[in-house]
């Protein structure tokens, strides 16, 4: 796409460069909901080079019809069985789920407390643990624990059909007994000489039980070695603390105490930040205007934190920033030095000048630094700011940041430091590689991970393993959940259990001791957890993980202040029940912080290079964990593959992401292919994606894609034949260049690659030629443009804090903008007082706000038109939403939403019921960003309901827009009419047919893999081909909540023969939470009963202190949605804002947007 792009108007929201250029492809998307529909065979079979044309289709259909006629008939309904347990389980009620607390053990301090819903003994849905100190919300009503994207999707990993089920020896499947025999026979040899030659290469398991086993190894087999390797790690941070404080420490950031946050390439709001749940929640406490309004802080006294971000890639954190400076990651260090000087840290040399030739405006650079100095350097901000660097930055930048924090008084206030947990020493993978080359290793046990795929390229780890395995006296044992590249090179492959099948323990980043308890016995007999395998190999006195855990717990409880009284059987049961040890408010159980840590200024100064790094002649390349695949461990997870990357909205692929300026320089455009070479290492082939807002001269490479074995076989391989899989970037990643490498040369290759991004699918919402005569009819071009802007502005409203405090943001008196149809209905009702814009007046007999007086008649339901008990509504606070996409995966998990494969996503057929739309605002090179989660908004005057010929889209008396699957015949008129395009159609039987053969329909193998069926939520219908589906406000949860309240009330009333009133069977606020609301780490989504005066959602839509920010979308269509949004506020620094407005064009921060 090389059409010239006109700079958009400053307030204009746009989603892609294609939109600005109005390319034919974009026009196709805007005019048709499902582009490419004209030829349904288009694109099928292209990968294999064979066509699938109409003639072939007719042949196949003819054959199958002939066969159908032969098939025997039988009208008898087949007998079904109903099978009860032979002996009951005591805590399971058939038909109701049971919930258990456990923890998702993750590396780098990312262990995540969860509560898992188990249906009939199968875990089906994961939620955060609301009682855990790491995930408690502060809002008393909704203390949901949130989750991040990986945790929500982890349940699918348990059921992955391509999971390793068997033992392998040298690539041949064997019986487990053979491995057991091998261990028994060779145990002495393996452990001889104090464990000489025994080496473990493990992932970062933060497991105190494993630590105990390791202590046993240290004591009994001191020659054995333990190495840890994580492709994505915190090494640079630990090295930075070592420089600054003399020893490695683990920092955690108290965003809830910080008024200013300066992030230097640190993506702390993305799920790839292992402590994101904690960080995002804390960040939100200072960001949220809603919480302050709750506490009756006056509007003009409202405060917000301010986020400055300097980064090369467009990340979740950058998209949330109040001020964002894009520059190559190599130059972030320069910025750090400049900031350090301004904030009182002594650094050598002169003040660095603004970098040249990388698209950084000199004025912006100076103003950016000056603003940070003014904000963080102020006396009132002392101890209330955070300066942090991202893991890609070299250690000296981290050290400098700690020095800055020290100078600002942040240590001990907003920056907490903790000693890492004590334990036996570990080695690095480089050290292991050295040991391998020196033949010092006889037995290598690889616990999880895929080092052959993701080890630093310069180590040639695969080759080392080949050499080791070739020696018949030596052996490699690989424990893993998938038969991957590393398993292929191992002598023995042992299947690993998933955390939902494991007994074990872990620690959060702050040191809270958490339980890992299984929800299901290992699906595949013989699979082991790392703890179990290691315990067996080193002959630990216990081989049962449960026993090991119990002992560790007893020890731990004894040694934790305030918890010694729990070191008994009852305490252990409580530990398993709650999922953690210690008080829920975190007052006990945390690892203590280091007080009075002082920064060694000399060491920091010495660490700063005398010549600050520059981008040089070539390009820089940065490696980022992928927001959906992390380091590649989730490559097989279909939900995560189809989850759009937050900035590019790419699915099923990664790309080499560059800025528009760099693309022009290299004559590249999205979908082109390039190769990247640095010092002899190369990525042979990778597709390009041009991303506005990316730094110039910089290429972002996301880790985790292009795994050669595609996990070996089976379902994923089939899905990937449909396209996708991405490009492996690990060949370019070396030990010295794990984060940033420079001097890359990019070579354009012939051909293109079809990347699929969902960024434009919301464009239909903003069709410039939308009807109703409102748009484009003004007398002058300027006024027509203004009308278009006015319509465009409706969707995401953004204002500044200053405007909010001054009262200039006020939606409380909005009335509906409908013209025509509704004379006499709502006119006059929209002003202040009772009637909230957007809601049809409801007729209720009786008053629900007080208990019944003795003479009251029971309030009576008034028929089916509208329920006087419940009217459901939802509010999404854009001020809190960070666009992490956890809601998308949670909804998919809860509602059995299928994945469709890359090819179908290309045709706009992805099935996500809720999606997060990302908008650029303003200039092409330096845009601002806005994101908005959007699901069915349950319009009261739904355009979809009136057009369904079979009445499958109906409105419930409680305000829900229902979709009755069994009635739907697949006209698709409803989604045609939906202005938000949130209705998803099942073009094929995505649940039961292989995704790479969808067009063969009935000729393919039918059936979902058995294990995937186990994940399905039994309370939600699974939709077949030809049926429309959409967000239901989690109607299954609503119904269960209502039923539960009725049952409980009826039992009470039956016992004493008393009467029930409406109040008794109305569901109290907070009982029902849709999956999206429950998963949100910042609790941005509020759901509840609009008739309940005590409900949060009522207050947000009726209470003047909140309604200032509350608005609904597309009011001119008179659809009266039940989901409303709260205006997003930014908090720019006024001085810097003025400079940015001047340089980038006005309105850069919103404001004037209401």
């Amino acid at each position: 796409m090389n059409q010239p792009i006109q700079q958009p108007a400053p307030n204009r929201q746009w989603t892609s460069l294609e939109e600005l250029a109005n390319t034919p492809e974009f026009q196709a998307i805007v005019t048709k909901e499902f582009p490419g529909y004209a030829n349904i065979f288009e694109g099928s079979g292209e990968a294999e080079g064979e066509g699938f044309d109409r003639r072939r289709f007719m042949q196949l259909m003819g054959a199958s019809m002939a066969l159908a006629g032969i098939a025997g008939t039988g009208c008898q309904r087949p007998d079904l069985q109903i099978l009860a347990y032979s002996r009951g389980t005591h805590d399971q009620v058939p038909g109701l789920p049971t919930y258990y607390a456990t923890t998702y053990p993750r590396p780098n301090g990312g262990s995540h407390p969860v509560v898992v819903e188990s249906n009939d003994g199968r875990p089906t849905k994961i939620e955060g643990n609301p009682e855990h100190p790491a995930s408690r919300g502060n809002r008393a009503v909704y203390a949901h624990g949130g989750t991040d994207v990986f945790t929500q999707a982890s349940v699918l990993d348990l059921y992955h059909p391509d999971r390793s089920r068997r033992y392998f020896r040298n690539g041949v499947e064997i019986e487990r007994q053979i491995f057991d025999d091998f261990l028994a026979e060779n145990s002495n040899a393996i452990l001889a000489n104090g464990g000489q030659g025994l080496a473990f290469l493990a992932e970062d398991f933060a497991s105190p039980s494993l630590q105990r086993v390791r202590e046993h190894i240290q004591a009994s087999y001191p020659q054995a070695r333990w190495y840890v390797y994580e492709p994505v790690n915190r090494d640079t941070i630990h090295e930075g603390t070592r420089i600054a404080f003399g020893r490695p420490l683990q920092p955690t950031y108290r965003y809830d105490r910080a008024d200013f946050v300066v992030s230097l390439d640190a993506d702390f709001l993305c799920s790839t930040n292992e402590t994101m749940l904690l960080d995002a929640r804390r960040f939100n406490e200072k960001r949220s205007v809603l919480q302050q309004a709750d506490r009756n802080v006056a509007t003009n006294a409202t405060t917000m934190n301010r986020l400055y971000v300097a980064e090369s890639m467009v990340t979740v954190t950058g998209m949330n920033a109040d001020h964002r400076l894009r520059l190559p990651a190599t130059l972030v260090g320069t910025l750090a030095v400049a900031l350090a000087r301004e904030l009182g840290v002594s650094v050598p040399g002169e003040a660095p000048a603004a970098p040249q030739g990388v698209g950084v405006n000199g004025e912006i650079w100076s103003a950016f630094i000056a603003a940070i100095k003014a904000d963080l350097g102020a006396a009132s901000a002392r101890g209330k700011s955070i300066v942090l660097a991202g893991r890609n930055q070299p250690a000296w930048v981290h050290a400098l940041c700690f020095a800055i924090n020290a100078a600002l008084g942040n240590l001990g206030q907003t920056v907490e430091l903790r000693e890492p947990p004590a334990g036996p020493p570990t080695g690095s993978i480089a050290q292991l590689r050295a040991a391998l080359s020196q033949n010092q290793v006889n037995t290598l046990v690889i616990l999880g991970g895929n080092p052959v795929y993701n080890a630093p390229a310069d180590l040639n780890f695969g080759q080392a393993l080949d050499t080791l395995r070739a020696n018949p006296q030596k052996r490699i044992i690989h424990l893993g959940m998938h038969y991957n590249e590393t398993a292929e090179k191992a002598t023995w492959h042992v299947p690993m259990t998933h955390y939902l099948e494991q007994w074990g323990d872990t620690e959060t980043a702050e040191g809270i001791y958490c339980a890992v308890q299984p929800l299901i016995a290992p699906l595949y007999a013989g699979s082991l957890s790392p703890l179990e395998l290691v315990a067996r190999i080193v002959r630990f006195r216990q081989t049962s993980a449960y026993d090991i855990l119990r002992d560790t717990f007893m020890q731990r409880a004894q040694n934790t202040p305030g918890c010694a009284d729990q070191a008994n059987a009852e305490g252990f049961r409580r530990f398993l029940h709650r999922g953690f040890l210690g008080a829920a408010d975190g007052s006990t159980g945390l690892r203590p912080t280091v007080n009075n840590a002082t920064v060694n200024q000399n060491a920091v100064r010495d660490a700063v290079p005398s010549r600050l790094p520059s981008v040089g002649n070539g390009y820089e390349v940065t490696f980022h964990p992928h927001p959906s695949l992390y380091d590649g461990r989730y490559f097989g997870n279909g939900w995560l593959q189809e989850l759009p990357e937050p900035a590019t909205k790419l699915v099923w692929d990664n790309a080499a992401i560059i800025s528009p300026a760099t693309a022009r320089e290299l004559s590249l455009t999205t979908n082109d292919l390039i190769s990247i070479e640095i010092q002899g290492q190369r990525i042979e082939r990778i597709a390009v994606f041009v991303l506005p807002g990316h730094a110039d001269k910089s290429v972002t490479l996301h880790l985790g894609h292009g795994q050669p074995m595609a996990f070996g076989r089976g379902q994923l391989a089939g899905q990937l034949q449909n396209g996708g899989g991405g490009f492996n970037v690990y060949p370019l990643r070396t030990s010295n260049g794990m984060g940033i490498r420079t001097e890359a040369s990019l070579t354009k290759l012939p051909g293109t690659y079809r990347l699929v991004s969902t960024q434009d699918y919301s464009a239909l919402l903003r069709r410039p030629d939308r009807q109703l005569g409102l748009i484009g009819v003004g007398p002058t071009e300027a006024s027509r443009e203004a009308e278009r802007e006015a319509q465009v502005r409706e969707l995401i409203q953004i204002g500044t804090l200053a405007d909010y405090r001054a009262g200039r943001i006020d939606h409380s008196h909005d009335h509906d903008h409908g013209h025509g149809q509704d004379h006499g209905h709502d006119h006059g009702h929209g002003h202040g007082g009772q009637q909230r814009r957007g809601l049809i007046p409801l007729h209720i007999e009786g008053d629900l706000s007080r208990p019944p007086a003795p003479n009251d008649q029971p309030t009576r339901a008034v028929g089916i038109d509208s329920s006087p008990l419940h009217q459901w509504g939802m509010v999404i606070d854009l001020n809190s939403c960070i666009a992490c996409s956890a809601c998308m995966v949670a909804c998919q998990s809860e509602n059995n939403v299928p994945i469709v494969g890359k090819d179908e996503v290309r045709r706009n057929r992805e099935m996500h019921w809720i999606r997060v739309d990302r908008y650029f605002i303003g200039s092409v090179e330096d845009p601002r960003f806005a994101s908005q989660p959007l699901a069915c908004v349950h319009c009261e005057r739904a355009p979809c309901e009136t057009v369904c010929p079979v009445n499958a889209a109906v409105h419930s008396p409680e305000g829900l827009n229902l979709q009755v699957y069994n009635r739907c015949v697949g006209t698709r008129y409803c989604s045609n009419n939906c202005p938000f395009k949130v209705r998803r159609f099942n073009w094929f039987d995505y649940n039961q047919r292989p995704l790479d053969q969808l067009r063969l329909g009935p000729l393919t193998e039918k059936g979902s893999p058995e294990t995937l069926k186990m994940q399905r939520n039994p309370d939600v219908t699974i939709r077949m081909r030809g049926v429309m589906e959409k967000c239901t406000y989690c109607v299954q949860r609503i119904e269960r909540g209502k039923a539960g309240v009725k049952i409980a009330a009826s039992r009470r009333a039956n016992r004493d023969n008393s009467n029930l009133f409406d109040q008794d069977i109305r569901v109290p606020d907070g009982t029902i939470t849709p999956a999206c609301a429950q998963a949100c780490p910042t609790q941005a989504i509020t759901f509840g009963n609009l008739l309940d005066r005590d409900a949060k959602v009522y207050k947000l839509t009726h209470d003047p202190k909140h309604t200032k920010r509350n608005y609904t979308q597309l009011d001119e269509l008179n659809i009266k949605p039940r989901t409303s949004y709260m205006v997003r506020l930014t908090n720019p620094n006024e001085t810097l804002k003025a400079v940015e407005d001047r340089v980038y064009g006005g309105g850069h921060h919103g404001g004037g947007n209401h």
Binding site: I82, A84, R87, V93, P94, S956, T1021, I1038, A1043, D1064
Partner: protein, 227 residues
């Protein structure tokens, strides 16, 4: 010139029209008689692996429904009992190790249950009452609020082998949902198979009072049963 339409054509046309009209009516009658749940389901009485007789256990012995269907009052699903439940009475010392031998321990009819208890495999009961997958029926809400087992499952206490007594079609459910008073009884009598309204009292009046007391307003909207 030859006639295209001979006089015989008239007769043919009339006969064909009559035939088609009669055929369509016949089809409609056949459909509405044979193809609806009232015919296809009512009377379905499959042979069970174990000849458990509700007439004996409930009717004659007077056991309570909830002795076996333990979770009917709390769960959407009314569970069939585990083999363990049967063994409470029908245990065989050799199998359970209980000191006393139970009722008819050596009956060949019970061998499958005893084997199930011993080995852990379920007894393969044939399922009789099943609504489609897209219908979500909640037992607990019904039995706690005055709908008796009898209303939907018929006189179970008189069935030596259970048969499908009512059609359980959507229309049939809606008939009650639109006029619940017809089928409500005092919640304390829900499990009483032989309850009749006290002499002189109209069942509908009793139903009305239950409906008022418990604020019963059954959903008539799709949301109530379909998700």
């Amino acid at each position: 010139m030859a006639l295209i339409f001979t006089p015989r054509t008239d007769l043919l046309a009339r006969q064909v029209t009559l035939g088609v009209v009669l055929g369509v009516h016949l089809f409609a009658v056949a459909w509405y008689y044979y193809a609806l749940p009232s015919y296809t389901r009512v009377g379905y009485m499959p042979e069970q692996p174990v000849p458990f007789s509700h007439a004996l256990h409930i009717g004659q012995l007077g056991m309570h429904c909830q002795y076996c269907h333990t979770h009917v009052a709390e769960s959407p699903h009314s569970n069939v009992p585990t083999s363990e439940t049967c063994m409470n009475c029908h245990n065989k010392q050799a199998v359970t190790g209980k000191i006393w031998a139970g009722i008819k321990p050596d009956s060949p009819y019970l061998s499958q249950v005893q084997e199930s208890y011993a080995r852990g495999n379920p007894v393969p009961w044939k399922r009789i009452h099943k609504v489609p997958d897209y219908v979500y029926f909640n037992h607990a809400v019904h039995v706690n609020r005055g709908v008796s087992c009898v209303s939907c499952h018929g006189q179970i206490n008189e069935m030596p082998v259970v048969w499908h007594a009512k059609e359980l079609s959507m229309g049939w459910c809606l008939n009650c949902h639109r006029a619940p008073s017809e089928n409500l009884r005092p919640p304390s009598e829900v499990y009483n198979m032989t309850w009749v309204p006290p002499a002189g009292e109209s069942p509908r009046k009793i139903g009305e009072s239950v409906k008022d007391r418990l604020q019963i307003n059954p959903p008539q909207t799709c949301q109530g049963c379909h998700r």
